[in-house]
Symmetry: D2
Subunit: 360 residues, 4 copies
């Protein structure tokens, strides 16, 4: 099987590096183009990037020459880890030019014809791409976003509970510093300290969660009719966003039923067979002091959401904690899995993975 | 003015050390007896205690010989920083023997005739001591508790809002490690990590807050009729508990009114004149990313509660963050201020501070 | 191939857990017995151990019943993660009873007939076991130790330089908290702080490094004739000991020659083929700010020592930094690799791995 | 007494803020001008500065309008917390224009006619200003530097040992993040991690320490003839640089004599009477695990250097650890004390503090 060429926008940043790390050895995709700032363009990737993940960049990428942001790209598939401003027009331009653009940037997430895709939660939203192509006159191109990294553990944990009717949601996050990129949060703010505020994230949690859990009516996404109140805080943790969730359900299931729902939960085919899909999208931890960021974020290669502490909430009925790896499940890993779903569903022109089973 | 002799129970522990530090140079009290475990008894305090606060123990205390827990004590006033089990009977025994016991231990907090005193919030609960003495047949002795350290910022922030009618309260704390004593929380749990659970604290937040904000009806405390849902988490911070608070009020004051209520708020006399009272019990911080534990915990010598981020909560109406220094305002400092209030109100036999003004 | 049964002493502690984690899926060994304190004995391992590593204990071990420290053991091979006092007599008793005991405890390390084994550095010291067996009248049993975790990066880095004549060694370590076990170092000592002292380690660095780099003369180990000055400090890092090393060599090789020595270095057969041997025991990092604990400790699965910052020292001639994962290479991983070497060399009665190549 | 007007260059940065904090309530000086970048110029200080120290900026400064870097200044005394590039020409220009410039920047430290002043160590170097004025034709202006923050604890600790003849010095530092300013070091580098390299500091430790301990021969500073080898590392600590020091002395004093030298040591008049001088410039801590950054940096209001762990070094003879608060003693506090010395010695035209005693 011929692997599909991939370009990474914002390749030298924190999320860009995570894309490169996760794509190393990917069965379907291979990184062939890396795109960076003016300062980086023209340099070898290993020289341009201050690698902040473990070890060193993969050799195959280290030698690539960084391209400028406005350079024409050859790769059919593009992952974007651009900052918001840079992403705004560039992502649409590339999609218009025929590329499949899977973006982690927030710039275009809330456009009515851009799906906010998380395969285990709303694979059916992929059909919004047909609306997108029709409306914009695109044939091979498309723009698909993944959500804010703090929304992920919330919608993952709620998905199996939608059948009970989710009415109101109260969220208080404790977020890792990698969510702010590199250099991101100053060490002077994160030693013996927490920050009670994360710029921009509270609004995203309230809007993106409703869109992700919404209904595709053939024309657009009808957001889920629930009320969300979010508080976002920053804590001295490298990776792994923990969210303290209180939820009101229309029905009143017993606590053990909910735990069973989470444990048994699996997405419909073909999602569980995608290369980046974890064996279990959700796990419930019985220990009273879990999930914890450092100890649970790597579950399922960083793609499994860990839940714990389910108990009654005197106000909303139920409360629990949920944790996801914010730069794997919450960013690059989700984008890659979105692209895998597009590939399997035939949205990437000329690239077929009918042979899925063996490929995995 | 002759200073009053004071004994510290649990003097070698984290809170015991904070008592000693805060009482150094106190205008009314002086530490004359230090009480520790069997292992410490008979040693000089400086040798028995592994001093974990800044610098070294005050010289006046360093030379005292540690007494055993069951030793008879001479000091009229006793501060207890004992662990729960050790506190249970010993505190009552000492009160029965005629001592004024101001305790930070949780053991006896919820006894019906023990006031859970925080001078700025419920100074009038001190009258419960008359019930206590009458019921138990004590004349000079008394047992007064202060609340759990995480409850403090909550009840301090709510006090000026009681007039609006507090109905429901949703709390998510991010607590410092000093709340667990020394050695307390392992460093292996607090590097690149948070703990989503603090043993015992959620229940205390729900019960103690209602007692503290309750009404003394001449016979006992009628807890405030509000519904509380608490989640307690531990973060890598030395001192300073931050609580993310959502609250439902019967009336619907405008946000600026609430900020004014906080800024203008002051306790009734004689509380503001007590030696340990800060100039402002509450301060509202305008910066969007405050309060922060390291930067705001020392406000008012650790006795001022800092509030920030007041905004609308789509579920309960209002939300904000509040922060107190957990071992000063939330433990030793509060106990000392409680004793000051007792002194001023004439509850400490033979000790008069009518000359309050000059003393301060 | 039938796997060899293995027992873990001190199985519920931090190093014991690391043994269990590293032995999961081991090609030659499988954990069949776990030994703990009186408090743990009789319980299922999953209930007795407060698992502090990522995820949960492997299922195969979770179900084992913890045995008491004085229980008779069936496993031919025993790994000891006991505290010093507990290890002292018990390890010798078990070796006398015919078990192969590979210990991480410091208790018996400096016994004249106990090899302090690190396969890449001194595989030939294994011959000391013949002296041990002859002297003590043991036939199948043996006691083999690995060194203190902070000594590892030092002797690993020095091994390729021995040919230049190592005269004097000045060491300042910055050690991770996992070296002190769990709960080990209090979080109150490790937030916004470092400790300039690690009990016991400085002496070990000075004696154990000389023994490890020493010469086996057929009768015992003649320590290397070098002068060592060690300072050990503790820093807020989970895993990974970094040592700042200044060294005086008899010869004066150029800096690039030393870097070449490190890069090219490989142990003699059969060490590189042992299952736990990394592809490269040493790596030299060119980036000026490496090695770093979090980013480099996992190199080679935690078994590769990373070196960086080689430059001239105006006093001793050369200086550089070296880093090893202290609970993998510096503890459990080294003990396991020692056992692998014993197996290959025929020291484990009845267990043959002539089929080494395939097994790996 | 009329206070002297003071300007702060680089007033919005981390060291600039420390200047403002330490000058609040200063008996001789008051901040009247604050100078910042183009971005800040024209704004009120409270709006321009992202205050990173505790609490908020003093009200008297909060209201000042930030001036641009090239604005003419009225204050006779100027403290510079400029970045190196910005400092280079501007500091000399201001001194030429008649201002007394006390700088914390490294740009001009090693100029032959600029004293590197630390009052307790080399007050006599102030006479170099006469050379400076003569050579440059300045009358009222002068440029005085303080050293790199990591050099401070070293030269402070060595000063009383100079009588024994200091030959060789081996230094390994563990430095706080505030030394890099704000935002400075990324939190992604300082959670579960240390950095084995601090750009530029090793060279400064080797050259600046020799200049500071050097001899003023009437014409210039003859650096101390000692060999220095420095390694600088960064650790997750907010304030307080700890240096692990090994030293070779010509004479061989007993360890207790050295401790006595440190304990008894005091600078000659008028240094101990300067407003910012601590009661004890040095303190030796007997506890085996001290000094520690968080617990000892505030000694003497951040101006006392703490020393501990004196013991024999098998290579150089003696070793110990020394700690200073890097932004107080090691930066702003030292600059202020330098200015105080200049004032007392009559170097500030028209400003007399003959009344020193009362002023303090």
């Amino acid at each position: 099987m011929q692997k599909l060429d991939v370009a990474i926008l914002g390749a030298t940043g924190a999320v860009g590096q995570r894309f490169i790390q996760l794509l190393e050895g990917h069965p379907w995709f291979r990184v062939r183009e890396v795109v960076g700032s003016q300062r980086s363009a023209g340099k070898a990737y290993a020289d341009a990037a201050h690698w902040i993940l473990n070890d060193s960049p993969p050799l195959s990428v280290a030698r690539l020459t960084v391209k400028a942001l406005d350079a024409a790209l050859d790769s059919p598939l593009i992952f974007s880890a651009l900052p918001k401003e840079a992403a705004l027009a560039r992502e649409l331009d590339l999609a218009r030019a025929g590329h499949i653009v899977c973006t982690n940037a927030s710039a275009n997430r809330m456009l009515a014809d851009v799906p906010l895709l998380l395969p285990e939660v709303n694979a059916e939203h992929i059909s919004l791409l047909e609306v997108q192509r029709r409306k914009r006159g695109w044939t091979s191109g498309a723009l698909i976003a993944n959500s804010n990294c703090t929304v992920m553990p919330v919608v993952m944990a709620l998905k199996p509970l939608l059948k009970y009717g989710v009415r109101r949601l109260h969220l208080v996050s404790e977020q890792a510093v990698s969510g702010a990129g590199y250099p991101g949060v100053s060490s002077m703010d994160m030693i013996d300290n927490i920050l009670p505020y994360v710029p921009g994230d509270e609004g995203k949690m309230e809007t993106e969660s409703r869109k992700m859990l919404g209904y595709f009516d053939g024309d657009g996404i009808i957001p889920l009719d629930m009320i969300v109140s979010a508080t976002c805080t920053r804590v001295p943790v490298i990776d792994g966003h923990l969210v303290n969730i209180s939820v009101e359900l229309e029905e009143g299931p017993a606590l053990p039923s909910i735990i069973d729902d989470w444990g048994a939960w699996q997405a419909a085919a073909p999602v569980p067979d995608l290369p980046s899909a974890p064996a279990f999208p959700l796990q419930y931890l019985d220990q009273i002091d879990r999930p914890q960021p450092r100890r649970d974020r790597e579950a399922g290669g960083g793609m499994t959401t860990s839940i714990g502490r389910l108990r009654e909430c005197p106000i909303l009925g139920y409360k629990f904690a949920a944790l996801s790896h914010n730069t794997v499940r919450g960013a690059a890993g989700c984008s890659i899995m979105n692209a895998e779903l597009l590939a399997v569903q035939g949205f990437i022109e000329g690239f077929h993975v009918a042979q899925t089973a063996e490929a995995i």
